[in-house]
Subunit: 267 residues, 2 copies
Amino acid sequence: MTDLRVLPVEGLPEVTKGMKIGELIAESAELEPDDIVVISQKIVSKAEGQVRRLQDVEPSERAIELAKKLGKEAELVELILSESREVLREDRVLITETHHGFVCANAGIDSSNLPEAGTVCLLPADPDNSARTIRAELRTAIEGQGVGVAGPSPLLSADPHPLSHPAVVISDSFGRAWRLGQAEVAVGCAGLVPLDDWRGREDSSGRELQATVIAIADEVAAAADLVRTKTSNTPAAIVRGLGQYVKAEDGPGAAALHRPPGEDLFR
Amino acid sequence: MTDLRVLPVEGLPEVTKGMKIGELIAESAELEPDDIVVISQKIVSKAEGQVRRLQDVEPSERAIELAKKLGKEAELVELILSESREVLREDRVLITETHHGFVCANAGIDSSNLPEAGTVCLLPADPDNSARTIRAELRTAIEGQGVGVAGPSPLLSADPHPLSHPAVVISDSFGRAWRLGQAEVAVGCAGLVPLDDWRGREDSSGRELQATVIAIADEVAAAADLVRTKTSNTPAAIVRGLGQYVKAEDGPGAAALHRPPGEDLFR
């Protein structure tokens, strides 16, 4: 096992609607084919135009009532409800299941690190698709640079199953049941094995492992969070040294991490 | 921000009761004063004699009944109950709150990576205390080696507030509500700031951050897990580059990560 390194991506510009995150990162970082690029949800949402002005929102009766109960703005509650398929808790905080299937506070909507006051940021509409798009942008940019390859780029070869190129994780901070503090999790990914299933493999004593499925994508998101600060403009990091989880195929994405409601004992 | 590195600690022996984990790690790894040493709960429990033979356990009526319902061994269920202060769910899996205050499956008891069949391993009785003990062992061993210091060791000085020395995290894999896959969390720590509280600080736009407390200890545990494999003998890793969270004082430990039951909406 080689060492793992986590490197912040420095020097990204303030992201606005329409920018190509993959291009920006390829310009700012020297990527290697097996890297995992972890990107804060916030800049992806900004690039995708997922910022809303609260004054443009018309709150429903239900939102007005709930806002009063929770001490929140009715316009914000309206947005949270419209991003959610189910409200799990409305006691002090609003915990919902989003249309994507995430269970989190406020449907993942927040107002930090937005240049304009009175605006909030929604999660990307389809974060796995966002990850695939950014991965394709990275690949195109890397091929254009011919980075990290001696001789003809394997990424340019006619092989229909090209060598791996950087994987992408889109991450966000979620609170957890039972434990204090937020931890970064993967809300989208492409090219990364999101879950590593050890069931059926043997432990060091030769006995079968029973219930070990590791949430690789979430642990990668957590590792990346450690080199960022919430107030700085380092909304992306590179996790290097996990090539065994980086695949040519984009794979199932972070949707694979949703626990099906029927298997979920805590709703 | 410097890079973060995660290095597996190679070459640890099979741990048995009475061994000093801190000494073993100091012999196997070249530590630096700001390192965080992340250690799998399993070897700490083994060293502390927390391994139990199921045939030595006398199951109660309640354990026999519950075991039948869950398809588990009654002796194992008895141990789980005796390690718990409250059963949260007994439907398919047994989710309890342990005497330490962890909410997890099977009170953290498991049978993987144990040399003797028919045995299981409990969590350490007091994982924060275990972390403090291991940290003290590391410190003594490092002082003996004079590692990482030019001239007289600052750790040997008469200063009552000596320079920092490696922090210790004891980690375990916990399942999560709502998300599939286990993620590594801190069950004990010493010398590490477990929670980084950003509330009241300003974001990049100068607005106050509202609800950002980051579970540093859990993210460190997750990062370390990425260089280990569940079947190999690499039950420890070093996380290097987070000196801002490493303190001379042992601090509040991972107990600071328990969400108080009164604030917990998911029980």
